[in-house]
């Protein structure tokens, strides 16, 4: 399978403003071409185990994350889905007492190998958090540039970067006249898009989103979901969500986690229509979790 054919995978559910990857009738046949095993992985975990002190939170996760696709990680609270994405850019180890074993491959390089710098990994694998967290001491403009500036870089044309990134997250028209104001003065949804712009300014290859909409109202959620859909063209995205409808709306692939284990990973339409595992079915039909 070539990279070109992967791009033809379309989303199972279409929204207004989507790219128009073809009609839904067309989708069926295209879906049949792809499966989890045939896509090119951007990242891959092998027997990933994560611990908080003595407690094993992830119990051997082996998962492939398809390049330039949206992968949703779903599961009940405490199943380890947040820990999993935090392992993908080595943010897990930031918590005292936390550690991880196993392999996490980014373009075939194990990011947990001794000589790999965690700080470098995080520049390639960006992260957006549950609660919008713009820097309160910085203006909207400076927040977009924060990643570059805090890393000691002086971009040649900062204004161009600010405009480009804010355009990319569809925030530019709303804030172009108030770039000097505090980022914390924006609404929750705007703050979250600002945080996404801040991550994108570093031009990451992978974007991890840890329940990016759980602190947002439905309208703001819809805008962020639309944004995720647009970003899929250029980035590999992993979205953690406890909202199954959201997974169905935005993701090409869905991984179901339960009690620290990967139960099932497949195309989103398969997971939601004909899951192989009983536990997956029980969860998506609301029988537990």
């Amino acid at each position: 399978m070539t990279a070109g054919s992967q791009n033809r995978i379309s989303r199972p559910v279409h929204r207004k403003g989507s790219r128009g990857d073809g009609s839904s009738g067309d989708d069926k046949s295209r879906w049949d071409e792809v499966s989890v095993s045939t896509v090119v992985p951007k990242m891959r975990t092998e027997d990933l185990r994560a611990y908080f002190g003595q407690a094993e939170v992830l119990k051997g996760i082996s998962l492939q994350i398809a390049e330039k696709q949206v992968t949703a990680v779903i599961g009940p609270s405490g199943c380890g889905k947040s820990t999993f994405v935090r392992c993908l850019n080595r943010m897990h180890e930031v918590v005292p007492g936390a550690r991880a074993t196993g392999q996490v491959l980014l373009d075939k390089q194990d990011i947990y190998q001794g000589d790999v710098d965690a700080v470098r990994v995080r520049r390639r694998v960006g992260m957006v958090f549950q609660k919008p967290n713009p820097f309160p001491t910085m203006s909207i403009r400076d927040n977009v540039l924060a990643g570059l500036r805090l890393n000691g870089e002086r971009p040649d044309d900062p204004d161009a970067i600010v405009e480009k990134m804010l355009q990319r997250v569809a925030l530019w028209d709303e804030v172009k006249d108030i770039l000097g104001r505090a980022g914390t003065g924006l609404s929750g949804g705007q703050q979250q898009r600002l945080c996404i712009a801040r991550s994108l300014a570093l031009e990451p290859e992978v974007l991890l989103m840890d329940e990016p909409c759980s602190a947002l109202d439905p309208i703001a959620t819809a805008r962020v979901e639309e944004l995720i859909h647009d970003l899929r063209k250029s980035y590999t995205i992993v979205v953690v969500t406890h909202n199954m409808q959201q997974a169905a709306r935005v993701a090409n692939f869905t991984a179901f986690f339960y009690l620290g284990k990967l139960i099932e990973h497949d195309r989103t339409d398969v997971i939601f229509t004909r899951p192989k595992e009983q536990r997956t079915e029980d969860y998506i039909t609301g029988r537990f979790g």
């Binding site: 850019n89 943010m91 930031v94 005292p96 700080v119 470098r120 990994v121 995080r122 520049r123 960006g126 992260m127 957006v128 958090f129 609660k131 967290n133 713009p134 820097f135 309160p136 001491t137 924060a146 990643g147 805090l150 890393n151 000691g152 914390t184 945080c195 801040r198 991550s199 570093l202």
Partner: protein, 282 residues
């Protein structure tokens, strides 16, 4: 039945409320009377010469405390220079790595140190600096005040850093910012206004300390050159003048007390004006 219970609640509400007001008034009495007394007794001693002239020998009228005023500023400045950087650094250490055994030990000793009587610190610096150099000096006084400031500055810095939401550190680390840079440029930067307030309050407190200066900076009726000579300071002068048998000196002590009070007030007010805009503003 219901109305009687309601009446009872109203009565107890009134009783508790009046008790609170009464207690507040009681607490304000010493504060206000100190302010009033010092002002009324000290105001008559304030004149231009108080700020511009050296003390006159006993028997001669006039003279001022210009050297003590400058001495106090000198000592406070020295204390800031020696006390604030290590205090802030220790506070950052505690906030970042305070969970280690060493961190707990540091925090414990900071707490113990903030309870050490100031005269003890004076003796400590006396034996450590004055006895070694064989003379009193502004330098020794500055060290004593810095040692007194250190625990307050450390704990304030730690506490204010812990008020900064952890999500901001995560945001910075998630952007591929090294830990030390995230600490300095995000955490410390966000907490900075609050830390500045805390530091100013610590400075205001040591500015009025007398005991640790008695046998470190000592006193000096003349201008002191540099930091290596005994240095006059307002608190020590207040003490010396107040215990003297001369009425005119008593008057000078009151005036000095008023000036010191205003100085501390100034520091406090400017600290309040710097009140954190960013911490907790989220």
């Amino acid at each position: 039945m219901i109305s009687s219970r309601y009446t009872r609640r109203q009565v107890s509400d009134l009783v508790v409320r009046s008790a609170c007001v009464l207690a507040t008034v009681l607490a304000l009495i010493p504060l206000v009377s100190v302010l009033y007394y010092v002002t009324s007794r000290g105001l008559s001693g304030i004149s231009l010469s108080f700020f511009s002239e050296l003390p006159k020998p006993v028997g001669e009228s006039g003279g001022g405390m210009a050297n003590a005023l400058v001495g106090t500023l000198k000592l406070v400045f020295l204390a800031c220079l020696l006390g604030i950087p290590p205090g802030v650094a220790a506070g950052v250490y505690l906030a970042e790595f305070g969970h280690s055994r060493f961190g707990k030990w540091v925090r414990f000793s900071a707490d113990v140190m903030s309870g050490v009587p100031s005269i003890t610190v004076g003796i400590f610096v006396y034996s450590l600096v004055v006895l070694q150099t064989k003379h009193f000096s502004a330098f020794a006084g500055g060290i004593a005040l810095a040692v007194l400031m250190l625990p307050t500055v450390t704990r304030t810095t730690e506490e204010l850093l812990q008020l900064v939401p952890e999500s901001l550190r995560e945001a910075a680390l998630g952007l591929g910012v090294p830990q030390w840079r995230a600490t300095l440029r995000v955490m410390l930067r966000t907490a900075a206004p609050g830390i500045a307030t805390g530091v100013m309050l610590a400075v205001a407190r040591v500015a009025g300390e007398t005991a640790p200066l008695l046998f470190t900076a000592f006193s000096n009726p003349f201008w002191s050159n540099g930091l290596n000579e005994p240095t006059a300071s307002l608190p020590v002068n207040i003490y010396n003048y107040a215990v003297s048998p001369y009425e005119e000196w008593h008057q000078k002590a009151w005036a000095a007390a008023l000036v010191l009070l205003l100085l501390v007030l100034l520091l406090n007010v400017s600290a309040r004006l710097l009140v954190p805009r960013s911490v907790g503003a989220r």
